[in-house]
């Protein structure tokens, strides 16, 4: 039952974050780029206020998979190191937690460029 609820909460919270993104694009008339930037910054701010970790505890992947978690983990790393090492920690800690998303994107982007070729198909 716990497993079922964790899926349900991941689905609902993840879905809601995506709906916020959709509203920014449709109602706010923003480009996908602007939308994602706003969400990342929101994630960072929420972590600064100490609100994002409780959301992860509640929703699991529903909070870690959306791009907001990228802002959260950058801030989280910076804050953790800042606590230990002060000023220098702000810089050194930043990528402590988040490296996986970016390094995966770089490596897989490179591999994809080796294998694939862009194609223009309508459907």
């Amino acid at each position: 039952m716990i497993v079922f609820y964790s899926f349900l909460f991941a689905f609902i919270v993840g879905g809601i974050i995506c709906v916020i993104g959709q509203l920014l694009m449709d109602v706010g008339k923003l480009t996908p780029g602007h939308t994602l930037v706003i969400l990342v910054v929101s994630g960072a701010i929420l972590d600064g206020l100490g609100l994002y970790e409780p959301l992860i505890d509640f929703a699991g992947a529903g909070a870690t998979v959306p791009i907001t978690s990228f802002g959260n983990s950058l801030t989280h790393g910076a804050l953790a190191e800042a606590e230990k090492h002060g000023w220098v920690g702000v810089l050194t800690g930043m990528f402590e937690v988040t490296s996986s998303g970016i390094s995966a994107a770089i490596v897989f982007g490179f591999i994809a460029a080796l294998i694939f070729k862009p194609k223009g198909k309508a459907n």
Binding site: S6, F7, F11, I12, G14, G15, I16, I17, C18, V19, G21, Q22, L23, L24, D26, P32, G33, T35, L36, V40, V41, A44, D47, G48, G60, A61, G62, T64, V65, P66, I67, T68, S69, F70, G71, L74, T75, A78, L79, A82, G89, V90, L91, M94, S99, S100, G101, I102, A104, A105, F108, G109, F110, A112, A113, F116, K117, K119, K121, N123
Partner: protein
């Protein structure tokens, strides 16, 4: 015909944005992607030596890998056309932005094309993520040293 009058005619003849339908599609697809992420997290916790804290990173990397395959096969483009923010907001959308730009740049060579264009779309997410994390950490550090808040 003056611009105001024209804008009225244009609006009357342009189909309205289907806000509700778009949000519903974004909710469903975004929710399903996150639920898949949850399943991957469980798999890492059950079959490998991950805790619920450390499985997050492995999950993100796996999701980006799936995004690469779907992008290369031209399926993520179709998903994006259907789901909008539902497929753009999850980390797979970040992967799609990097991978599609990398594939596209191939004809301009590995250094200038692939290397130079890879973060054409995703670069701003990294910049603003890092920038906001820096300032938030800085503000908190100042507040802590002033004794306003605690770590």
């Amino acid at each position: 015909m003056d611009p105001q009058e024209y804008q009225q005619i244009e609006q009357q003849n342009t189909p309205p944005t289907p806000y509700l339908k778009n949000c519903l599609k974004a909710f469903l697809v975004g929710g399903i992607i996150c639920a898949i992420g949850q399943a991957i997290t469980f798999l890492y916790m059950i079959f490998f030596d991950f805790t619920d804290k450390t499985a997050g990173n492995a999950t993100v990397a796996t999701m980006v890998f799936i995004a690469m395959i779907l992008t290369g096969l031209g399926l993520y483009r179709k998903l994006g056309a259907f789901a909008g923010a539902g497929s753009a907001v999850p980390v797979t959308g970040f992967g799609n932005a990097v991978v599609s730009a990398a594939i596209e740049g191939k004809t301009e060579g590995w250094v200038l094309g692939v290397g130079g264009n890879m973060f054409k779309l995703a670069g701003s997410v990294i910049l603003f993520g890092v920038g906001s994390a820096f300032f938030i950490a800085l503000i908190k550090l100042i507040l802590v040293s002033m004794g306003v808040v605690e770590w």
